[in-house]
């Protein structure tokens, strides 16, 4: 037992605590723990035979120190994170990491907050996880975001040096989001364009789904390695399927049943929102699978099209209520990597191919809708 440097008078237990020990301490039974491990396994896509591995990993891992930065952002990522819904997540996952610096929640402020940050960066050099919410302004020497008198650019570079890995939360940190959209007045830049020497996990979305955030952390903690990523650095578990391909309204698309105006008779029947500008066909995210706030709903279910908030440059892909002229449709087994980055410049053949592959009987109808849409859009401009 040692004197505690940050809380004088309180002793430190030298033996680090495992997830299992901590869950016991929090009153969870072994059964609860095994259920939690199984849930986590299922969540991050591990086959049932791998659950044992998860259990063992969680019995032996200590709490990993985490520093969480806020730069050019709106804090929606932090807010989403605390919505994480599995009963155990708020009690356990938040306590499983040691969140040593986060401007949103930490008790300390000013000098004491900076000391907590630097103490972790020094003590756990090479071991701590760095999480970033927000983009970093790079114009004019970075004066557009300063914390403690230092630029975000300066801080991010220093902290990245000793980090084990970096998680770029949300669209701001992973692709620049709103402040980097036309004309990007402050030179807002995503983390992967500033830091190249560390593994970076991009978790886009405005914000990302709470369980996607929690799932990403749990994956790292459980396996001591970062999840499999796609070509854009996103965890495959959560970003390999288009919203369109996992949408419960998809059969309406395939059948050529569309909402023509908000609140019309078709809207009241939950038809496809493609004609209202839905970006589901070009958006890779888990909204259709995990849904939001413990599976309550997701934008399309509540009557509004997807705005594509996890895709790079989605703000410049509008107007939001203008239907997509075309989008790639190579079947639901296709991932973002196969299609590449050509999403913004797809060929007209794409949607026709999609129509063919989805429903032969409705091909004519869908093609007619697409052609109609294209001519309407041309007329509109």
């Amino acid at each position: 037992m040692n004197e505690n440097p940050v809380m004088p008078g309180v002793t430190i237990n030298e033996n680090s605590v495992t997830y299992w020990e901590e869950m016991k301490r929090q009153g969870y039974s072994r059964r609860d723990f095994l259920k939690f491990a199984a849930w986590i396994s299922a969540f991050i896509g591990i086959e049932s035979s791998g659950v044992g591995k998860v259990v063992r990993a969680m019995e032996t891992k200590t709490r990993i120190p985490v520093v969480w930065f806020h730069f050019q952002e709106c804090t929606c990522c932090s807010e989403s994170f605390i919505r994480s819904s599995h009963p155990i997540v708020a009690d356990v996952v938040l306590d499983k990491i040691s969140l040593d610096y986060t401007e949103t929640l930490q008790a300390a402020a000013g000098k004491q907050a900076e000391e907590a940050l630097h103490s972790t960066m020094k003590k756990y050099k090479g071991e701590y996880l760095m999480m970033v919410e927000g983009s970093v302004p790079t114009d004019d020497g970075g004066v557009y975001c300063c914390i403690g008198g230092r630029t975000a650019l300066d801080i991010v570079k220093e902290a990245a040096e000793g980090a084990k890995a970096i998680v770029a939360w949300g669209s701001c940190a992973s692709n620049g989001c709103i402040q980097s959209s036309r004309p990007n007045p402050t030179g807002a830049t995503p983390i992967h364009k500033i830091i190249s020497v560390k593994p970076i996990i991009n978790v886009p979305g405005c914000p990302p789904i709470a369980e996607v955030m929690a799932g990403t952390i749990v994956h790292i903690l459980t396996f001591d390695r970062i999840p499999q990523l796609d070509g854009l650095g996103r965890p495959k578990a959560f970003y390999s399927r288009r919203v369109h391909d996992t949408c419960y309204r998809r059969p309406n698309y395939d059948a050529g049943l569309f909402v023509n105006s908000f609140d019309d008779e078709n809207a009241k029947r939950g038809y496809c929102l493609y004609k209202m500008g839905c970006r589901g066909p070009m958006t890779y995210n888990s909204c259709g699978v995990i849904r939001w706030n413990n599976g309550v709903s997701y934008p399309i279910q509540s009557g509004h099209g997807c705005i594509g908030c996890s895709e790079a440059h989605f703000w410049d892909n509008g107007p939001f209520y203008q239907r997509l002229a075309s989008f790639p449709g190579f079947g639901i087994e296709t991932t973002a990597d196969d299609i590449g980055l050509a999403l913004g410049a797809v060929t007209v053949a794409g949607i026709a191919a999609h129509a063919v592959s989805t429903n032969i009987k409705k091909r004519k109808l869908i093609n007619a809708e697409v052609e109609n849409g294209q001519s309407e859009e041309k007329g509109g401009e």
């Binding site: 505690n4 940050v6 809380m7 008078g9 301490r25 009153g27 730069f71 952002e73 709106c74 804090t75 929606c76 932090s78 807010e79 919505r83 819904s85 306590d95 040593d100 986060t102 930490q106 008790a107 300390a108 402020a109 000013g110 004491q112 907050a113 907590a116 020497g141 970075g142 557009y144 975001c145 300063c146 630029t151 300066d154 989001c177 709103i178 402040q179 004309p183 007045p185 402050t186 405005c206 914000p207 105006s261 908000f262 609140d263 809207a267 009241k268 029947r269 939950g270 939001w292 706030n293 413990n294 309550v296 997701y298 279910q301 509540s302 009557g303 509004h304 908030c309 703000w315 107007p319």
Partner: protein, 571 residues
Amino acid sequence: MARVVVDPITRIEGHLRIEVEIKDGKIIDAYSSGTMVRGFELILKGRDPRDAWAFTERACGVCTTVHALASVRTVEDALGIAIPPNAELVRNLMFCAQYMQDHVVHFYHLHALDWVDVVSALKADPKKTSEIAQSISNWPKSSPKYFSDLQKKLTAFVQSGQLGIFANGYWGHAAYKLPAEVNLIGVAHYLEALEWQKEMVKVHTILGGKNPHPNYLVGGAPCAVNIDDANALNSERLAMLSKLFEDGQEFIEKVYLPDLLAVASFYKDWGGIGGGLTNYLSYGDLPANGYADIAKFKFPRGIILNRNLAEVIPVDGHDVEQIKEFVTHSWYDYSVGDNTGLHPWSGETKLNYTGPKPPYNHLDVKAKYSWLKTPRWKGNPMEVGPLARLLVAFASGNQEVKEVVTSTLKTLNVPVAALFSTLGRTAARGLETKLIATWAKEFLAQFIANIKNGDTRMFNNEKWEPSTWPEEAKGVGMTEAPRGALAHWIVIKNEKIDNYQLVVPSTWNASPRDDKGNMSSYESALIGTPVKDPEKPLEILRTIHSFDPCIACAVHLYDEKGKYIHQIQTF
């Protein structure tokens, strides 16, 4: 005399820096600075006005929805769109859910640690804790075993040496006054509230598809009603809304409010600290009969000057002489000179950082020192937020508000003057949450009654197509964000946004001095605040957090004669 800098101010939204001068244990001078900007309005220029709600909603993810609401109202004001009663009710329900969640999160997760000493809770007697808890509320989680188990967990957490978010707090500071048992209750409810808040926001998920950042719609609300279909708002969805509001109200009545009163009773001296400005502004909100009928707002609109509760002065966003913004101490240039105020419709700002080169130790507070501009109403600084709303409602003769205010003052045995303080601000937030939880149920009942009567309309599509719009239109949309008066101004030309501006609550409160050298709310409220230990300025956090700062930049940027002009505001 000591210069104390607190940067970052934590447990807020955004980036805020406070510099104060302390003499003889009291703050004699204070400077508030927003240190981050993004560039919203330049980005908005040229876009489809119907998309603006999504852009502006991203000004803040903590009080998510409020900018979206201000934005759709702004566009509807410009284009003359009246929305169906159900859509107004849906917006009200989302508004209520936002306040209920946000105010509870503020109290427990952003503000409580200024009053609750987590380490002291380790010494509490669980039996006594249980007795106290049961004496102030019949909330079921209050047994000696419950508190004893929690204490064990807390002890183990602290002994692990990895203190996470509790590391380096001002624990043991002489300004902490709660008995160990009340501290333990505070910690218990900190954790319970964290679990609870994620339920409350499901109202947004049902009506707007997700939270944070649910969807809004110019002309109404996107969620269709069909009680005979699985794919729209039906009886299951309505029942879920009802349950969420019931449970939400229970937590507010049985946990939040009793805790607020218990904590306040130990810190009555803070009813005489942190008063600051004497003017209060509320735009009002929660229309009970449509947004056009201001007289029927649950929160009335108006201004109180010099704490004179006998008179409520009207405020008008369309009047270009009323609300103006100054950049005397902000990092911008005005072509008309930096000491002239401009109404948001004709405002101009050129972003021009003239502060010290980072890394820096101190700002040059005699010159420009913030990314926030300084808004004024007819030249007067205004406090906005829960206290302003409550005072305007009180002075307007709102009986519900009068009752809760009077009974609370009586319970705490403090005079009316105690409202004008750090404690008054924190109490006002709780009291309005209580009222909103009641009003939410009224709105839901009205919504269900409308559906029962056959009215399922949710959207007015008459002006949806841009071809139906006039060549040029101007609008103002006002709302009350949890943090205070929020308004957007728009100019639409040829179906596109020509100019879009936001004047947000924390700009009123956190802004630097104006052209005459007058302070805004934060700076003014800090003057006279005692600081026992300049190395651990807990008292600064108390007063600043009582405003619930939300500093993410809402940036005004627009193009005039081919040159980019930036008007930056911080929220």
